[in-house]
Symmetry: C2
Subunit: 212 residues, 2 copies
């Protein structure tokens, strides 16, 4: 079983404007007989799922997302290293794959290499996918787009324009952000994204490669 999730911890990197994360002691073995922790976090913390309702008024929330949408065979696109603020499209994706298959699995994972910057200031300068490429992948069968960056759209000061979110969530698809641990994965793997069982606009997930 291979880990594809970032650890959630106090003060960790979050999307600008999202709630600050804390994990602190609530009860202790010495005083209370048990150690229990108190967690404060946003629904889009760490490696997490965007439900359609994250950006679409009236869109599905996490309670309406079946586990079967979050588990299955995936195509992993190992892009050539992307520079800061790069926007990659079908050309870069095709080059990474050799050729673009006429149909793609329901889960497509983009490895830009940017997850190595998760705990540094560089995290904000991540590459982004072009909305036209996301739309073409949706036409070819993608239902869930997973990226190793804070967002599939560029992250900027007070940005309220989310074209890739519109393409994917607007078609009732799903997005996973901040996936990690993609190095040397085969192009086809079976993955699972297991969300905290809340009913909300998104949820942290435990992301793993499942053994066949």
């Amino acid at each position: 079983m291979r880990e594809l999730s970032h650890r959630i911890s106090s003060g960790m990197q979050v999307y600008p404007g999202d709630p600050v994360v804390s994990v602190e002691s609530a009860l202790s073995v010495e005083q209370d007989g048990v150690d229990v922790s108190l967690l404060h976090l946003g629904s889009h913390t760490g490696t997490h799922l965007d439900a359609p309702s994250h950006t679409v008024v009236g869109g599905r929330t996490t309670a309406a997302i079946a586990l079967d949408e979050l588990v299955g065979d995936a195509l992993v696109v190992h892009l050539s290293p992307q520079p800061a603020h790069a926007v990659y499209g079908l050309d870069e994706i095709t080059r990474a794959l050799g050729e673009l298959p006429p149909t793609v699995p329901a889960i497509v994972i983009m490895n830009t290499g940017w997850s190595q910057h998760f705990d540094s200031n560089e995290v904000l300068n991540h590459p982004a996918i072009h909305p036209d490429a996301a739309a073409e992948l949706m036409r070819r069968g993608m239902h869930l787009l997973a990226v190793d960056t804070l967002s599939p759209d560029p992250t900027g000061e007070g940005s309220t324009d989310f074209p890739v979110h519109e393409v994917v969530l607007g078609s009732d698809g799903l997005i996973i952000e901040n996936i990690t641990g993609l190095e040397n994965l085969p192009e086809r793997v079976r993955v699972g994204f297991f969300p905290l069982p809340i009913d909300a606009d998104g949820a942290p997930v435990r992301a793993v490669v499942l053994d066949n």
Copy 2:
């Protein structure tokens, strides 16, 4: 994929003394361009994992628990319906199984039927496993004990005596509490418990039956 987790929601049932749960709006599509929620919860909320450090000073925390300990073949023990405050032991377990196998899978799940009371006052009056039965199951190969109750030990006012926790966590084993959805499961199933990726004394899990 079958769901074995309770939903986490504001004001839900928690173990007496544990942090109160809230899931509230932090950002909204109308005002901020995105819906984001703020979550407050304890590490032992809903269907969750007890790490050894929950009751054992110096015991392992969740970060030291491998995913492979949380995924695998399980023995499901469908006990006859247990009355309030019952303590069931090897006799009841043997009767449920026909015979007690000389070796059991690393994951053993107890179905007492009590998860139906999760959202009622009856939840506190749950049955409990006798510590001798837990110890015998550990000797026969159990590493993880999953129960459909708030605890494998009786839950009482200010209780600080946790003999089953001592048997299981004290031997570096694991406990899953508040599993649900066990009705009509076969006696042998492949399950996965996917914790929120925090480093703590425990963590909420997404519990599922995995397809083979």
